[in-house]
Amino acid sequence: MERIIFYILSAIIIGFAIASVTSRKILRAVVYLLFVLIGVAGFYFLVGYNYLAAIQLTIYAGGIIVLFILSVLLIHQIDNQMDVASLARRAVVGIACLLGSGVTLSVIWSHSFPKPAAGSQATEVASIGKGMLSYGEGGYILPFEVITVLLLAVIIGAIIVSKGIRLSLKNY
């Protein structure tokens, strides 16, 4: 049963991924990406990391996709056809990517993974939250703090990049 679900999910992921990198309407591409993300979230559900799946849905599907859509709207790109790269280019890149994935897959499949260790960590939200805030072994408070700085920096960066024009126009 789970197996079938997995195959369906992977079909969704791969299929929509391809669609999203080939579609000539950008908005559609965004939507396809949304499906991919949802597929990934589904996969997280499947392996039992519900919290992660939730984050995937909220931040990705909820946040980033919206961001994309907004920007697309902002730059009036909804319905005009993107011109695609030349066939030769696509062919070359495609073959290269196939080659690359072939190499990677061959390496992966030729590798024998150790047997999974018994027992598994509790994955309910509370424990994850504790882990996120504990500073001992397996505690993630430091990365948590760092990511806040990162976000702050990125916000400021985004601000200065976009704030430039108006003020400078005023000054010039």
Binding site: S10, A17, I26, V84, L150, S162
Partner: protein, 105 residues
């Protein structure tokens, strides 16, 4: 873990996803769609972490936490990238890749 689904298959999916992303990154002519491809790549990595964590080292959640941070960083990255792209759009009213080829050689 899901019955009958081996780690190999999951890694296969993620690998394919990764290279599809690369393909998109290289072939798309529009900056925003390049960003989309990047999301694919990041997701591929995230899937790997989760799968490995689940299948091999389920006693600790390193992979899961890693994926969480990946997602967060991805969001930040995208936001910043989009702001720069929009700035470019305000300068040249286009988000085509070919607008970003003035500096070369």
């Amino acid at each position: 873990m899901p019955a009958g689904v081996s780690l190999y298959e999951i890694l296969t999916v993620s690998t394919l996803l990764f290279f599809i992303g690369v393909y998109g990154f290289v072939t798309r002519t529009n900056l925003i769609s390049i960003l989309l491809s990047i999301e694919l790549i990041l997701n591929a990595a995230a899937i790997n972490f989760v799968a490995v964590n689940k299948y091999l080292y389920p006693d600790m959640l390193q992979g899961v936490y890693f994926s969480v941070f990946i997602i967060a960083v991805a969001a930040a990255e995208t936001a910043l990238a989009i702001s720069i792209i929009i700035n470019l759009y305000r300068l040249v009213t286009s988000v085509e890749v070919k607008e970003t080829e003035t500096m070369k050689y």
